[in-house]
């Protein structure tokens, strides 16, 4: 923020929203990394802990919404303030969705814990999660520091996550074709991979919000997308 408002409490209100989002982001980051850990270690206890913890994120999102409504009614913000206030519920909503995906991963962990590990997929998912976690961390950093370049960088990094998802998708398809018994865990892993990929998309969305908040311009160029799974087709023969 360039300068302080003449009305001090306006600054405090805006700061409050920012704090709530940072707090949400902190929980979300933690849940991403923990869900990956739980999956890798087949730790159902940790998974249960994550599922329980998601409620806090939901509560924070509701709190952000309330704060935004109050600030709109009381302050009629303009320009950068208006943008900051308007993007806040969107960012909160994105973060909440990311939290939901982490929760979903945790849920699937308890099923996967009973099945055979499928190749190196858990490690790949772990790597994807680390990447997404970094993206979330950086995009929140960009949000707090009003750093447009950093937000744009996060947006570009989503491509890597997409590519890893593509690779894993092919890999898991192959496993399923090889061994029908692997279908169940592979399906779960596929969904997990998709979840992480979606987390990346939501992070990208947050990056776009930050970009708008800082510059006042809405991204019109296409977002870099490398998730080709929707068009991927593998011939059963090819695997044999």
């Amino acid at each position: 923020m360039t300068q302080e408002h003449i009305v001090k409490s306006f600054d405090e209100d805006l700061k409050h929203i920012e704090t709530l989002i940072i707090e949400m982001g902190g929980f979300v980051e933690k849940h991403i990394s923990e869900s990956a850990t739980a999956l890798a270690r087949r730790d159902t206890e940790l998974a249960a802990f994550i599922i329980k913890g998601d409620k806090r994120i939901d509560a924070l999102e509701a709190e952000v919404d309330q704060a935004v409504v109050r600030i709109l009614a009381q302050r009629q913000p303009m320009a950068q303030d208006l943008r900051a206030v308007v993007v806040a519920p969107k960012i909160a909503s994105n973060l909440e969705r990311i939290g939901d995906y982490a929760k979903n991963i945790a849920k699937r962990t308890s099923v996967l814990a009973k099945a055979q590990p499928i190749g190196s997929s858990a490690a790949t998912i772990k790597r994807m999660c680390v990447m997404v976690q970094d993206m979330v961390k950086d995009v929140l950093e960009a949000y707090v520091s009003r750093n447009e370049a950093m937000a744009d960088d996060v947006r570009r990094r989503d491509e890597e996550v997409d590519q890893m998802h593509n690779t894993l998708f092919r890999e898991l398809l192959t496993y399923m074709m090889e061994d029908p018994r692997a279908i169940s865990p592979c399906m779960h892993l596929l969904f997990i991979s998709k979840n992480v990929e979606r987390m990346g998309d939501h992070t990208t969305s947050i990056a776009e919000q930050v970009h708008y908040m800082v510059s006042g311009e809405i991204f019109d160029e296409e977002r870099p997308k490398s998730d080709t799974t929707s068009t991927t087709f593998i011939e059963p023969d090819a695997a044999e």
């Binding site: 360039t2 300068q3 408002h5 303009m78 320009a79 950068q80 303030d81 510059s215 006042g216 311009e217």
Partner: protein, 272 residues
């Protein structure tokens, strides 16, 4: 909605006649001095026809001074000197051959405080028509007065008491009476100098609604201290600061993503 459609149609007609719509009012390098003190510096501003243009800025920034240049109200102040060109419809209003009385009949003005004449409601509106020779017969005069009152959205409230003194109306009604008085002489441009600053929110809303409908027929320039009001009623917004025109553009842009830091500070309520 209909206003918008009409305006679109208008624009099409004009586009057919000319390749590009010219602004109705064009200010070029306008400098205003009060004695030795310079109040406005090199103002260049194009005001599009049949739109609402709002002038905002902190007190003493020169927005009212600029507004008063447009109908040469500043002539009344002995020490005031204006340089530069202001053209309305292609004619420089500071040319020596311009009759200021004729100019003011074309560029009406509504003031900060409602200032009806201490005469009847009818006389208030009829006065401009009479002195400018716009009403032939008594019947014509009555029709014109009623039409103006209707345009100003006041007719239903005063229909049965046109002979009552204008000062007996409420503040908001008085201001609409002043608007009726201004539009009665059918000017091209209406200047409004903080027309709602003395009114309550309901009366303000009525005036804003009125401004929105008047846009069909008139080019309106409004000075306001309420940024929300500028955002609500205008299509173009100009931000003045310390005698300079800092930023001018579409209202949507100015209030969501201004490009100048001073505009940003002012409209977000920061110490600028």
């Amino acid at each position: 909605m209909s206003a918008y459609a009409l305006q679109e149609a208008d624009n099409e007609v004009m586009a057919a006649a000319k390749p590009e719509t010219e602004p109705l009012i064009a200010a070029r390098n306008v400098n205003v001095f009060y004695g030795d003190k310079q109040a406005l510096f090199d103002i260049c501003l194009d005001v599009p026809e049949k739109q609402v243009t709002s002038l905002i800025g902190p007190s003493g920034c020169g927005k009212t001074t600029f507004l008063r240049c447009l109908n040469r109200m500043n002539d009344l102040i002995d020490i005031c000197r204006v340089t530069g060109d202001i053209t309305i419809g292609g004619k420089n209003i500071y040319d020596p051959d311009v009759d200021v009385v004729a100019l003011r009949a074309q560029v009406g003005m509504v003031f900060q405080k409602p200032n009806p004449f201490p005469k009847s409601i009818f006389e208030n509106v009829a006065y401009g028509l009479r002195i400018n020779g716009l009403a032939g017969s008594k019947g014509e005069l009555k029709d014109s007065v009623e039409r103006s009152l209707k345009q100003a959205g006041l007719i239903d409230e005063v229909y049965d008491r046109l002979e009552a003194p204008g000062t007996s109306l409420s503040g908001g009604q008085q201001q609409r009476l002043c608007i009726a008085r201004a539009i009665a002489v059918e000017p091209k441009v209406i200047l409004m100098d903080e027309p709602c600053s003395a009114l309550d929110p309901i009366a303000t809303a009525r005036i804003e609604e009125l401004i929105d409908t008047l846009r069909e027929k008139f080019t309106i320039i409004i000075v306001t201290h309420s940024m929300q009001q500028a955002a609500r009623v205008s299509q173009q917004t100009a931000f003045f600061h310390l005698g300079y025109l800092v930023e001018y553009g579409a209202t949507d842009t100015i209030f969501t993503a201004p490009s100048d830091e001073r505009t940003e500070s002012y409209i977000t309520g920061r110490i600028g």
